[in-house]
Amino acid sequence: MIVCLAVVGHENNPLYIQSFTESDDALKLHHIVHCSLDVIDERVNNPKKSSPTINEAFLGLLYPTENYKVYGYLTNTKVKFILVTTDLDIRDADVRNFFRKFHAAYVDAVSNPFHVPGKRITSRTFGERVSTIVKSFGLSSAS
């Protein structure tokens, strides 16, 4: 299940963090997201990790820990999407697909003329759209 979904700006500032757990301990998710920025930085400005997909937006699995996984996605405008999930068997294809949908949602959100770039995303419609995407993701990965 997707535990948390975050958008981080190009100055590594949180633009949107949504946790999908029922318990109200979102802070630890903040921490996980924030720390996973380390990995993204490493992937991006460390040519050693160069691979054919170096410039692909989808960064793949950032964190293999025992109990959760963190996936990353870096747009051309240096905006990071970070996905924390607890189901450990999960196909990259699904995540890639998920991120693409999410990216579309994000673009629509920031294209809102009332959205100030670099500020938190507060649009409710965005939130609803995200939650639907998340639900659909649960289904796709389950199937």
């Binding site: 937006a57 747009t75 051309n76 405008t77 990216h103 579309a104 673009v107 920031v110 294209s111 770039p117």
Partner: protein, 175 residues
């Protein structure tokens, strides 16, 4: 889904913007009006770049980004690509559009075209029509600057309309 707007609408909107800023809000302060128009363009470009770079690999260097502007971005905006791209390889790029659509329906007294560089206030002072056209060019300049800055490239963009309807945009990347 792809949403489109009528080109004529965009053109008249642009004309309206320029009109209301130049002769409305900031009638006697052209430089302020210019800044505002450019700022609007900046925001537009900022958001468009977000959309149009959506499913493409990240750019590795400035040139790639500029090429993106020339090809895909431009054809998204104007259904045509930039016709000519020149660079001095030291951060200055010249993008020439041989028939810039937003100037297509604009006519300029041929006698004053020669000095139509909108970055040159003296020239603007001496002929009004070039100034008017220049005002219309702040918007696309802003769009380019916004798009590039969203891609992490801080730059200054100016336009040169010395021979209409061709229009060339000069991008100077801040080192």
């Amino acid at each position: 889904m792809v949403r489109e707007v009528s080109e004529s609408c965009v053109e008249s909107l642009l004309a309206e913007i320029v009109l209301s800023y130049c002769s409305g809000f900031y009638a006697n302060k052209p430089e302020l009006a210019a800044r505002r128009i450019e700022a609007i363009g900046f925001q537009v470009g900022h958001q468009l770049s977000e959309r149009y770079t959506m499913d493409r690999p990240r750019f590795t260097d400035n040139l790639e980004a500029i090429k993106f502007i020339c090809k895909d971005f431009w054809s998204e905006l104007f259904k045509k690509q930039i016709d000519n791209l020149k660079t001095n390889h030291r951060g200055t790029f010249v993008l020439q559009d041989n028939r810039f659509r937003w100037l297509a329906h604009m006519s300029i007294d041929p006698s004053v075209q020669a000095s139509g560089n909108i970055q040159d206030p003296s020239a603007m002072a001496e002929n009004k029509s070039a100034q008017a056209t220049g005002m219309h060019l702040y918007f696309p300049c802003g769009i380019i600057r916004g798009a590039l800055s969203n891609l992490g490239i801080e730059c200054a963009v100016s336009a040169d309309i010395s021979n209409l309807p061709a229009c060339s945009f000069v991008i100077r990347i801040k080192a």
